[in-house]
């Protein structure tokens, strides 16, 4: 692990720029976060798309055993740190009652604090809705006091941002991929399940969605399943899954296994991902038991090669083509 010195820049007279690293939970909540800060009159700066340099810097900064998304997140933070007045790295402990994020997300602000020297002020507000739902207000107030804006404005801006976020979620649920990803309407329906930070970061998954698109697959993701269905299918398990994303992956996975239109399932996990080692394994077992659908488990890390992925995807699509015809 290396300590990384952030070069000091001349701070603006009125600190106005908020940096949001484009990694981890960004893909799930960026509409909410960006709108929230913009409504308050701040300028939001998002780090650029993941690139080779970021990954290399992330690998140097993080411990070897951390998973790829965490290393990539380090890279994004380093990319932003010297250009912004505040870094937004909240500690998201839980977004849903009785559920958790993964331990690495819980520890992210602490992990970054020990490797960055001289970073700009970090907004590392804790969000923990595991027990009480109203904790979110407290978190907003905390952010407001850091940014020195009145609480009521913060809450108002939050409500407006929340609407945008819900609107975006509804858009995805109606069968769309996020902006920038092509999707055909005809073709084999393939469920591609994975954490948003793996699935929608085209660099670290080596353009998986585009490759599938070219091979004639119509990609279905966990974001396209409405929450009620996810709850219903995840509820079939004897014990509730306590990771929010784990629950979503398993719930939508079971939903898609049940859907006759879905011809195959791909599970995308980063190497060493704790929840996925269990959720992915369970899903694979369920898929195999009924001998219902072809299932492929793709693991990515910083050593993944593109050629290997292409071969596997082609073989998978060939298999589906044969089964269907």
């Amino acid at each position: 692990m290396n300590k990384i010195l952030i070069p000091k820049t001349v701070p603006n007279k009125i600190p106005k720029t908020i940096g949001i690293p484009k990694g981890m939970l960004y893909y799930d909540y960026h509409i909410l976060w960006e709108n929230f800060f913009q409504n308050l009159g701040f300028e939001v700066k998002v780090s650029s798309d993941t690139n080779k340099k970021m990954i290399n810097e992330g690998i140097m900064a993080a411990v070897d055993e951390a998973c790829l998304p965490v290393k990539v997140f380090y890279g994004h933070v380093l990319d932003l740190a010297s250009q912004v007045d505040y870094l937004f790295i909240p500690r998201i402990v839980s977004m849903v009652k009785k559920e958790y994020m993964c331990p690495k997300i819980l520890g992210l602000p602490d992990m970054l604090r020990v490797s960055l020297v001289n970073p700009p002020p970090v907004i590392e507000t804790t969000v923990n809705l595991r027990i009480k739902n109203n904790q979110i207000e407290q978190a907003i107030k905390e952010i407001c006091s850091i940014l020195q804006v009145p609480d009521y404005e913060g809450l108002k801006s939050w409500q407006a941002a929340l609407q945008k976020q819900e609107q975006h979620e509804r858009y995805l649920q109606s069968g769309h991929l996020p902006e920038g990803f092509p999707r055909v309407k005809d073709g084999f329906k393939i469920a591609v399940l994975g954490h948003a930070y793996n699935l929608y970061d085209a660099y670290i998954n080596m353009n998986l969605l585009k490759k599938l698109h070219v091979l004639g697959a119509q990609v279905c993701t966990k974001e396209m399943v409405i929450p009620e269905e996810i709850e219903k299918f995840a509820g079939k398990l004897p014990k509730k899954i306590f990771w929010t994303f784990g629950k979503q992956l398993l719930g939508s996975g079971l939903y898609y296994l049940d859907d006759p239109e879905i011809k195959g399932m791909i599970f995308l996990a980063s190497f060493g991902c704790g929840p996925d080692s269990m959720v992915g394994d369970l899903l694979e077992r369920y898929a195999r038991r009924g001998n219902q659908k072809p299932f492929m488990f793709i693991t990515i890390d910083e050593h993944s090669g593109e050629a290997g992925l292409v071969t596997r995807l082609e073989a998978f699509m060939d298999l589906i083509q044969r089964r269907v015809s």
Binding site: K104, L106, V114, P238, I241, G274, L282, R285
Partner: protein, 372 residues
Amino acid sequence: MKVTFPHMGHLSIVGKGLFDQLGVEVVVPPPITKKTLKLGIEHAQEFSCLPLKIILGNFIEAAELGADTIVTSGGVGPCRFGYYAQVHREILQDLGYHYEIIVVEPPDTHFSELIQKISYLSNGKSLFQVARALRMGWAKARAIDVIEQKVQQVRPREVRTGTADDVFQWSLKKIDAENEIKKIWEIQRKTLHELDGVPKDMEKTVLKIAVIGEIYTILEPFVTFDIEKHLGRLGVEVSRSIYLSEWINDHLFMGLMRVRSTKEAAQMASPYLRHFVGGHGRETVGSAVRYAREGYHGAIQLAPLTCMPEIVAQTILPVVSAEEEMPVMTIYFDEQSGEAGLVTRLEAFIEMLYRKNDFGKRRVQSERLFRN
């Protein structure tokens, strides 16, 4: 009903003592061997953590001895351990083993769930008998830990290597066979006395190293190639960040007993790690702080590869090490780990500590260390 449970250090002695008192038939899984590990690797997901694999091996081996009910512990996240039982259930089902699995964990919906599970296990025994069984389990767990703590002190100083361990093994057998609480206390007293009498080299300078990290890895010697014995042989007095009885007290008895609690360790983790991260991640960081302030010469973090809470702790430990001025080393274990590599790393770490602490005086010691 033939009950089995996972191995974790000397847990089997405690579990057997408890279920014997309840009149429940127990099948203790065969001791963990390479074969156990192999069974686990074969059937579990490749990057699931090592305890999951070994425990799976335990269950398969126990099933072959006729066990039909698993009693294990769980949790509500975010550490993977909380979902072990469910994954084990599915794997065992696919393999064709028919197990009833009872998970003793914080209840999800209502407290009656837990009571129901306990009364099912207690086989219709009265509350008094259940309490007696719990006391028996506690007495055994505590006795083993008290004795082992003494063994950890004697090991580096004993004149003939292995004397303390012989005494320890003998006492474990005695404790395992005993079913009267008073007798267990007596064994504890006797063993401690015997350990006092082991010939020791009191002139020897001994390093004090804390073993911190993930509970299963710390407690189960199979995983770590019995790291404590290696350390003892290399002239190190060892203390663990968590002992089985402390875990039992924290989790099952709600801290009623007067033993060291991991809660203090968790509090000491701040400001380095300001939030709970699941498992024993925060306790690992806090223990490092605590041991550094108690004057320990170094700490070794042990964890299974891909363990999420320990990765967070590992990231933070270098800063703790620098601020609290105590060297810390992290060692991960998985099915690829080898004993020779481990010993080399330990020797290097210890050599470094000797030099760091007092080069001139202890040089003789370190030379003797390597002649052995």
